[in-house]
């Protein structure tokens, strides 16, 4: 054979790689990147979860019995870092990457190459963090806040140490997130189909927009702080070193200026998923659509003014405590609007309880609880008692796991038929839901009680009086570990041999359901024209799209 078919030659003539192989390539297709993000993030979720289970195993008894204190500190530090920066962030960005162009009627995202670059930094961050366990210094051990001066004590004396790698990973993560945010924001602002005005965008697009705007506005503070801390650690500068007239409290301000809004960067897309799934399974339009859209932007604005509530015990003066108590409580208003809108949406609906709906209802109910404990934490005198205790850990996990991770699961099940072209198994999905709901509540509810009784977070050994509730929490954690098994089995087997999915299995509104499952390479045969508000459930003109005749 001396002749090569033209199609096999390199360069622009090269055909699309065979279907599964494109997921391992530097693809610029937003749908491939979306799946790459989701799968990579889920792998890190499993690793972060494994670390959490080791931590929970250590906490089964008051004394040390499995790992030493340094390793324990490293495990909870990397657990937190992975779950935030390598699970929730990339899972949300992956879902947004897949869905936003489809939802707004675009063929691709604004900056496909930038988008791909942003994704490929994620595995780099993960590998760096995991490899740091094998350094002589060990991995970073100062918690995911990495407060100086303890974070930069560097007892090993090595230039390449765990904290160094952690800070490097944070800087890379910041760059990746900014690139992803630039792409998503530009796509939403610039690439909407004809007739897709802002107030015709699905709420998921609104929440992605507000979350990614928060990234653009707040993330530079964290990235800057990480670089300054890196200089303090490695170059001997003294931005935050108290013994050399630096100020460690300034680091806390920079860190929380970003890291409180970061909670909303994670939570807003979850609210978006609830706002898509609930109407579809209640067969009713989202109640008060416009106010839900506006409240996303309000959350975006208010959440940049509340960060000091993490620092009520950090030598914060009285006036600052009071001001930030007020702003923090104010966030309850736009979030309340959302919760009430969801409840009103299912009220008098025709409810169907497929797996996405179960996860959405579970997530909303858990968020109701998390919101209430959140307002409690904003009350300064109460916060001072529970600050840095397990009450905060419990509250936080009701947000990041019971609400946000539930929402990500809801989203994965809901859009699985669109993404893969196949149906998942309902039975396995429901088992997954119940294991998750029970495991999560067993795991995180007792933490509130532990915190009220004074159990401090980040301790490897504890007073025997706290044993009982810790055992319950640990059992819940192991159950959560188990709960991922039916999910993995379901996803893998359904993707390989599930029943073929129709274009619109849920009979849902939204442009993503008007194209084939999975969508063709440029999403739409013809760019749709949008003529009415979203969520037209129960309305005569359900079909909001007139195909553009050319």
């Amino acid at each position: 054979m001396t002749t090569i078919p033209a199609a096999d030659a390199g360069g622009p003539l090269r055909p699309q790689p065979a279907s599964w192989r494109r997921y391992f390539s530097f693809s610029t297709d937003h749908k491939v990147i979306g799946v790459q993000y989701l799968v990579t993030a889920f792998l890190f979720f499993l690793i972060g979860g494994l670390f959490a289970m080791i931590v929970r195993a250590e906490l089964l008894t008051p004394q040390l019995d499995i790992v030493d204190r340094s390793l324990y500190n490293g495990l909870f530090t990397i657990h937190g870092t992975i779950m935030i920066f390598l699970w929730i962030f990339p899972a949300n960005v992956g879902l947004a990457n897949y869905l936003v162009p489809l939802m707004i009627g675009a063929r691709e995202t604004a900056f496909p190459v930038l988008n791909a670059l942003a994704f490929w930094l994620i595995p780099v961050i993960g590998i760096l963090l995991l490899l740091s366990f094998f350094l002589p210094s060990g991995t970073a051990q100062a918690g995911w806040w990495s407060y100086p001066p303890v974070s930069i004590q560097n007892p090993s004396g090595h230039l390449i140490n765990g904290e160094f790698v952690w800070l490097l990973a944070m800087v890379i993560s910041g760059i990746s997130s900014i690139m992803g945010a630039v792409n998503l924001v530009t796509t939403i602002v610039q690439m909407r189909a004809p007739g897709m005005t802002f107030f015709r965008m699905p709420i998921y697009v609104w929440t992605t927009l507000s979350a990614q705007l928060l990234q653009l506005f707040c993330l530079p503070a964290l990235t800057g702080a990480a670089i300054m801390l890196l200089f303090d650690l490695s170059l001997g500068t003294d931005f935050f070193t108290p013994s050399k007239q630096g100020d460690p409290i300034i680091y806390q301000h920079l860190f929380w200026f970003y890291s409180h809004p970061a909670v909303y960067v994670m939570a807003l897309p979850a609210f978006g998923v609830f706002s898509e799934v609930l109407p579809a399974f209640a067969r009713k339009p989202l109640f008060g659509y416009k106010n839900v859209a506006i409240s996303s932007m309000l959350i975006c604005v208010i959440s940049t003014t509340v960060w000091v509530h993490h620092m009520f015990a950090s030598a914060t003066p009285n006036w600052m405590r009071i001001v930030f108590m007020a702003t923090s409580m104010l966030v309850a208003v736009p979030t309340g609007i959302k919760v009430f809108a969801w409840v009103a949406t299912i009220w008098r609906g025709k409810l169907h309880f497929q797996t996405p709906m179960l996860f959405a209802l579970g997530g909303v109910s858990m968020f109701l609880f998390a919101g209430i404990t959140g307002v409690m934490l904003a009350a300064v005198p109460f916060d001072i008692h529970v600050n840095n205790t397990y009450f905060v850990v419990g509250h936080f996990h009701y947000v990041v796991f019971n609400t946000i991770t539930m929402a990500i699961y809801a989203g994965i099940y809901y859009w699985f038929p669109k993404i893969t072209g196949r149906m998942y198994s309902e039975g396995w999905g429901k088992l997954h839901f119940w294991l998750t709901l029970i495991g999560a509540n067993l795991n995180f509810f007792p933490m509130h009680a532990l915190g009220l009784q004074g159990m401090v977070r980040r301790i490897a050994s504890y007073d025997p009086q706290y044993t009982g509730l810790n055992v319950v929490a640990s059992v819940g954690a192991f159950l959560l570990g188990m709960s991922t098994l039916p999910f993995i089995a379901n996803m893998v087997s359904s993707w390989l041999q599930g029943r073929k999915a129709p274009d619109n299995p849920w009979n849902a509104t939204g442009l993503e359901w008007t194209t084939s499952s999975p969508p063709p390479s440029e999403n739409f045969a013809e760019i749709p024209i949008v003529t009415s508000e979203p969520y037209g459930y129960g309305e005569q003109n359900r079909l909001v799209i007139d195909p553009l005749s050319t």
């Binding site: 499995i66 030493d68 204190r69 340094s70 390793l71 002589p136 210094s137 060990g138 051990q141 918690g143 407060y147 001066p149 303890v150 004590q153 007892p155 108290p242 013994s243 409290i249 339009p285 109640f287 008060g288 659509y289 106010n291 015990a313 030598a315 003066p317 405590r321 409580m329 309850a332 309340g336 609007i337 009430f340 409840v343 009103a344 299912i346 008098r348 609906g349 025709k350 409810l351 169907h352 909303v364 109701l368 609880f369 404990t373 009350a379 300064v380 005198p381 109460f382 001072i384 008692h385 600050n387 840095n388 009680a449 009220l452 004074g454 401090v456 980040r458 490897a460 508000e533 459930y537």
Partner: protein, 302 residues
């Protein structure tokens, strides 16, 4: 159906009022025994928050539960529900109610906070470590009403990983924090190395300690007994071992202890971080990572 719903609503309102009241009362017991005036104030606030929180949770949660129970639809029914897109009055109501609730919670919290007054009227003093004369100055700025006898300022020194407490007037240092009951206690919190946190759950008070700052802190213990003191701000490898015991003494016991401690010559304290560092426990998984060596144990009279 109308009657059934009215009955259900009445029952649910009853359950909500009853449960929120009961939980609000029980909330005090979810906290450790109160042993300071501040603890009682925090207890009232927590009880208030639990009551209100339960009402909101059962109110909104009840609507979700009702929907799940009564709006369940057969899988075969593919029809849509009535297309209700919103209701301006309702939406205004559920914006205004949270605003009012939040104002109520914030003003009640503010009131409690003013009464706790743990930072006093002191601006956070930026003082140099162990510059004793400055404390006297800080004391004079203190605007405590003069009828309560302020006890002396006790210096709390935190370091990796030991607490020590210095009583300047008797020149006593101890690993135990002895406090006289029913007197306003004035502490000056300092750290030698990293951030630490002064936390006594039974007092419901907490304050981070920041190197190169002396932070004035005050509260009033009001129940005789022994209470654990924890480090509440992560301070490194042996963080969990950084504990001490607070003794709230009767005035007589307190005076006796001071007098007795003054007779003891200073010796290096027993310190669990130091002993564990010297003799690490045998564990299945050991990292062999470098750790910061614990600071030398403080020299203490008792």
């Amino acid at each position: 159906m109308q009657i059934f719903n009215a009955l259900l609503l009445t029952i649910w309102v009853g359950i909500t009022i009853f449960t929120s009241h009961i939980l609000g009362q029980q909330a005090y017991d979810w906290l450790p025994t109160a042993a300071a005036a501040e603890a009682e104030l925090v207890g009232h606030l927590f009880s208030f928050l639990v009551t209100l929180g339960t009402i909101v949770f059962l109110g909104v949660g009840g609507m979700i539960a009702y929907s799940i129970l009564f709006y369940r639809t057969a899988a075969s029914d593919r029809s849509d529900a009535p297309p209700i897109r919103g209701n301006s009055t309702l939406e205004i109501v559920w914006t205004v109610i949270p605003i009012l609730l939040v104002i109520w919670i914030a003003s009640y919290s503010y009131d409690i906070y003013q009464r706790m007054d743990t930072l006093g009227s002191l601006p956070l003093a930026h003082l140099h470590l162990l510059e004793s004369p400055a404390y006297a100055e800080m004391g004079s700025q203190d605007s405590q009403p003069s009828d309560t006898q302020p006890s002396e300022q006790i210096e709390v020194l935190a370091k990796q990983w030991a607490w020590s407490f210095h009583y300047p007037s008797q020149n006593i240092t101890s690993t135990e924090l002895h406090l006289p009951v029913n007197q306003s206690v004035h502490l000056v919190l300092q750290s030698e190395d990293v951030l630490h946190g002064f936390f006594v759950p039974n007092f419901r008070i907490k304050q981070d300690i920041i190197p190169n700052q002396a932070i004035a802190f005050q509260f009033t213990p009001n129940r005789v007994g022994q209470y654990p003191l924890y480090d509440s701000q992560f301070s490194g490898t042996y963080f969990a071992l950084m504990q001490a015991t607070v003794y709230v003494d009767t005035p007589k016991q307190y005076a006796q202890w001071l007098a007795q401690a003054a007779t003891q010559p200073p010796v290096p304290a027993v310190n669990s971080a130091n002993s564990e560092h010297a003799q690490p426990p045998s564990l299945p998984v050991r990292s062999h990572w470098h750790t910061v060596s614990p600071a030398p144990p403080p020299l203490v009279n008792q």
